[in-house]
């Protein structure tokens, strides 16, 4: 009976492609309209309350985008290459230091500063990757842990020697004639940057070297036996990942206009690991989802706290006074819950849902 209904998923290919493109265009349109909504606090003329906008402002979205760069590079390193690193705070700091040196002291233009930061990051990453030639797993984590404190100290010294005690200042960022002066301009710049980095990382995983990386993660001995030079690959992965992190650090520094070494403390580094665990290690889309969660959680908690603060006495006081601790607490519990119950993170959960509801029937 050829006229029988085709099973779901094996539908008309052109219609399916048309649907995909519609979704993509809608998504891009949404992303472009979002900053307008957040700036005007209204959508299509209808005013929205703070609670409805989830207490988000464009500043937070921009910070989220900057964090996404770090999350993407870390999940690339940890998930796809199988190398553990707690050093992303240090690499952001390296980028900020390079930006201070080339931008503020040498007065280079912004795009060149970013390039310099990426190069510095690659160099730092190569240095950081060197211990991985000798030590594995836990010891590599320790090496990056040690590196974190060393870089922190160096940044501190650099700040005191070259600038003043308040912080390291940065010039205004400008892409040629375009001055990044408003949050909306930053938003679009960052959005493009995140999209480019995402595409870069995703495509690099599809190349020969990317597959070699995954082979190295899965079974190093077998990869070596297959002729992959594991040592050089490891260092390259570190260099690549940290150059992106340093780039993000430079962008962060310019965005904040003044930074201190405290910005890049161990808590900052830990947040990246928490984000990629929640998102799913190795999944680039998961890194984005994890960062979004990291952004939304404090806003939602702030909203709840503000609403409950007026209502119940003691609980409301705790919620309002200790908001940052509450955020850390809930995020920490979330990470623990994910580690125990859903080790694959959001990415694995989505994959399972997809398989259950959109499974293609066997042809």
């Amino acid at each position: 009976m050829i006229a029988a209904k085709l099973p779901t998923g094996t539908g008309h290919p052109i219609r399916a492609a048309a649907w995909r493109w519609t979704w993509r265009i809608a998504g891009v349109a949404l992303l472009c309209y979002l900053p307008v909504v957040l700036t005007q606090r209204a959508a299509f003329g209808v005013a929205l309350s703070n609670m409805q906008l989830l207490n988000l402002g464009l500043t937070q979205i921009n910070l989220m985008l900057i964090m996404m760069l770090g999350a993407l590079s870390l999940t690339y390193l940890t998930g796809s290459a199988g190398l553990v690193s707690i050093g992303h705070g240090a690499f952001y700091a390296v980028g900020a230091m390079t930006a201070a040196f080339t931008g503020t002291q040498l007065d280079w233009p912004f795009p060149l500063v970013l390039v310099a930061a990426a190069v510095a990051g690659a160099l730092a990453g190569t240095l950081a990757g060197l211990p991985s030639l000798r030590v594995r797993g836990l010891y590599l984590l320790l090496a990056t842990f040690a590196m974190h404190f060393i870089v922190h100290f160096l940044f501190s010294e650099y700040q005191y020697k070259s600038f003043d005690v308040v912080g390291v200042p940065y010039k205004e960022a400008s892409l040629g004639p375009l001055l990044l002066s408003t949050p909306m301009r930053w938003y679009f710049f960052l959005l493009v940057l995140v999209a480019v980095v995402f595409a870069l990382l995703r495509n690099s995983l599809r190349t020969r070297e990317g597959r070699a990386l995954m082979a190295m993660r899965d079974h190093e001995l077998a990869a070596t036996a297959a002729g992959i030079d594991v040592r050089i690959l490891r260092v390259k992965a570190f260099a690549f990942s940290s150059s992106i992190a340093a780039l993000a650090g430079a962008v962060y520094a310019y965005y904040m206009t003044t930074v201190t070494p405290e910005f890049f403390g161990i808590l900052f580094a830990i947040q990246f690991i928490a984000i990629i665990i929640v998102g799913g290690m190795g999944s680039l889309a998961g890194a984005l989802a994890g960062t979004a969660l990291w952004l939304l959680l404090p806003s939602v908690i702030t909203g709840i706290a503000d609403q409950a603060g007026g209502a119940t006495g003691a609980l409301g006081r705790v919620l309002s006074v200790h908001k940052p601790q509450l955020v850390n607490l809930i995020f920490g519990l979330l990470v623990i819950a994910f580690l125990i119950f859903a080790p694959g993170g959001i990415a694995a959960m989505v994959r399972r849902l997809r398989q259950r509801f959109f499974a293609r029937a066997a042809p």
């Binding site: 010891y139 090496a143 920490g332 990470v335 623990i336």
Partner: protein, 288 residues
């Protein structure tokens, strides 16, 4: 001056050695690199504050309170967080301890406030001069107590049957299970003891400074101490602690106050590159 610095370095180093010993114990028993050690030290500090300032307990009772409290927390941590993650890869368990330190820190700040709390105990705080060196009584007591604890636990492991069972479990899990040892109970005990040791470190550190979350930074110094000494070696952890204490005091006095971190972690990095198994550890032979 140098003698002064050496003395305080050794005194602080004894405290670090104590915390490092607890850390090494947990690592030897359960193979978990406990990043929450720093927070356990802070827990000890806040428990001291609660016992002495808030509850106004007599000092002996306060000590019991702190020890029992820390042991309880350690056991709960093992049961809730470590046991469920039995077969998981290393990074997951390490991340759980990192998340745990974050959770613990938040709870402590929410309970006790963000300001550091001053802890007054009956322990003497004066100084006396011994051979030209100004000796702080508190430092001396801290050092002596640390050594007493280390000796006590060393004896426990050497001479009691429970200690022997713990060592056996740490040496080979499967063999222990086959021999009828309740491995989970041994691990719980290891965690309880490790937490108590960290808490005792916190008891002294909070008197030398203040009871606050900042102590975590100091507690985390046990990590390089253990790695430098040798991850699988408990005496190595003690030596590592002493070394870290000496380096800290020497560099703070002769170079700059903030440089201590760099020297300690620089040494850690060097050891990882040159001799990853530490000064006293055993070279790990893996099957290729």
């Amino acid at each position: 001056m140098l003698a002064q610095v050496l003395f305080s370095g050794l005194a602080l180093g004894s405290i670090y050695g104590l915390v490092a010993m607890g850390f090494a114990l947990i690592f030897k028993a359960t193979d978990v690199f406990n990043f929450a050690t720093g927070m356990l030290v802070v827990l000890g500090a806040y428990l001291t504050y609660t016992a002495v300032a808030a509850l106004q307990l007599p000092f002996a009772v306060a000590i019991v309170f702190i020890v029992v409290g820390a042991a309880l927390v350690g056991t709960v941590i093992h049961v809730l967080l470590i046991q469920p993650l039995s077969g998981q890869p290393l990074l997951s368990v390490i991340m759980v301890t990192i998340a745990l330190s974050s959770v613990l820190g938040s709870v402590l700040v929410m309970t006790y406030g963000t300001q550091g709390l001053i802890v007054e105990t009956p322990l003497p705080r004066g100084n006396f001069v011994l051979g030209g060196v100004r000796v702080s009584q508190l430092h001396l007591i801290a050092a002596l107590t640390s050594w007493a604890c280390m000796a006590g636990f060393g004896a426990f492991f050497r001479f009691t049957s429970t200690g022997l069972l713990m060592r056996a479990t740490a040496a080979g899990h499967e063999a222990a299970v086959v021999s009828g040892v309740n491995v989970n109970r041994m691990n719980r005990l290891a965690w309880a003891i490790g937490s108590v040791l960290a808490a005792i470190g916190g008891v002294f550190l909070c008197q030398l400074q203040m009871a606050s979350v900042e102590l975590e930074r100091i507690g985390l110094l046990a990590l390089p101490a253990v790695v430098i000494g040798g991850l699988q070696s408990i005496p190595g952890a003690v030596v590592g602690g002493l070394l870290v204490g000496l380096i800290e005091q020497l560099s703070s006095t002769y170079v700059s106050p903030k440089s201590a971190d760099m020297f300690i972690y620089g040494l850690l990095l060097l050891i990882l590159l040159v001799r990853p198994w530490g000064l006293f550890g055993q070279r790990e032979l893996g099957r290729v």
